[in-house]
């Protein structure tokens, strides 16, 4: 499914983006600017049609990769390193997911003329309606 996202010949450019992200993530600083950058990734994902499940899968993949490789290399601090990476990948996943949800809401405001607060209420109401139907069904 995620293969459909890419244009022909795009892989080298995307690989470079991941290398840049990895370098900055390891070297830091992991400051407000870093997390604002991650929020912008959420925005890019909306444009490219990268769904949150695709992104969350890759977040989990990166953390698990670091965990496995640091165990295999028998790094003396493999455990705290893995824990730090699992935590970081979850925060990055949360920021990108939230960015995606918020930007989608903002764009819906432009499309449907709904204020984000109204959309939030309608969304909760829709969930209530669906749940009631499932319970009845």
């Amino acid at each position: 499914m995620s293969k459909k996202i890419f244009h022909e010949g795009e892989r080298p450019a995307r690989e470079k983006t991941l290398v840049d992200w990895w370098t900055r993530t390891v070297e830091g600083p992991l400051d407000e600017e870093y997390f604002a950058w991650m929020a912008k990734v959420g925005l890019v994902h909306v444009v490219r049609g990268v769904e949150n499940p695709m992104m969350l899968a890759m977040c989990s993949f990166v953390a698990e990769f670091v965990d496995r490789r640091s165990r295999e290399a028998k790094l003396p601090e493999a455990e705290p390193l893995s824990e730090a990476f699992y935590r970081l990948s979850m925060v990055v996943g949360a920021v990108i997911t939230y960015g995606f949800d918020r930007y989608q809401a903002l764009a819906l405001y432009n499309v449907a003329g709904m204020e984000p607060a109204l959309l939030e209420r309608l969304t909760a109401e829709e969930a209530r309606r669906l749940l009631a139907e499932i319970t009845r069904g």
Binding site: M1, S2, L43, V44, V46, V47, G49, E51, N52, P53, M54, L56, A57, M58, C59, S60, F61, A63, E64, D67, R68, R71, E79, S82, E83, Y86, R87, M90, G93, A94, V95, T97, Y98, F100, D101, Y103, Q104, A105, L106, A107, L108, N110, V111, A112, M114, L119, E120, L122, T123, A124, E125, E126, A127, R128, L130, L131, E133, I134, G137
Partner: protein, 184 residues
């Protein structure tokens, strides 16, 4: 509208996940192999889960007064069913249902993702075999993906219901709108 919507959410979310990160049947065999140790963590897991939710102002706000025992029971049931199985289509539909409950209670995706991390972390500290860490990692990534996707799906459904604009057109317009934001 009925349970089909849950199936649609869980299926779509799982299909969107890269195969390497998606939960697979062998993962559940691993969880079953370590079932006793994993189930022995139930009390600690439930306590850590709700202690942190109640200690954090934004997540504390989600709960009504006196609700904690009921919520603890829900988590206990979820953990037991997750370990004991079956982790089948019905299980994933249930996770989509949990996603709808989150939207109704205004539990945001970052709140949910934080708790997914916590569950993995508590387990890792006690059961640190690579096969368990990997199986649980794929399980939590899949559960989180389904719940996160549910939020987006309900948001689109509510706009469709209110405006009568079809979801595909909404999606296209959203993309165009966000592209403009990106240019700014």
């Amino acid at each position: 509208m009925n349970r089909e919507k849950l199936r649609e959410i869980s299926r779509q979310a799982m299909e969107d996940m890269a195969q390497e990160a998606r939960f697979r049947p062998e993962d559940h065999q691993v969880l079953l192999k370590h079932k006793d140790r994993l189930l022995a963590l139930t009390d600690e897991l439930v306590k850590a889960f709700y202690d942190t939710l109640f200690a954090t102002p934004n997540t504390r706000k989600v709960f009504h007064e006196g609700e904690r025992p009921e919520r603890e029971k829900t988590l206990r049931d979820w953990w037991q069913r997750t370990i004991e199985g079956p982790v089948d289509e019905g299980y994933w539909d249930w996770q989509a249902y949990v996603g709808l409950l989150h939207v109704k209670r205004v539990v945001t995706n970052p709140m949910m993702l934080g708790q997914a991390f916590l569950i993995e972390n508590v387990v890792r500290r006690h059961v640190n075999e690579p096969e368990v860490v990997e199986a649980l990692g794929r399980l939590m990534a899949t559960v989180a993906a389904i719940i996160a996707y549910g939020y987006e799906k309900v948001q689109l459904l509510s706009v469709e219901e209110t405006t009568g604009i079809g979801q595909d057109l909404i999606r296209t317009n959203v993309r165009v709108g966000v592209e403009k934001l990106l240019e700014e």
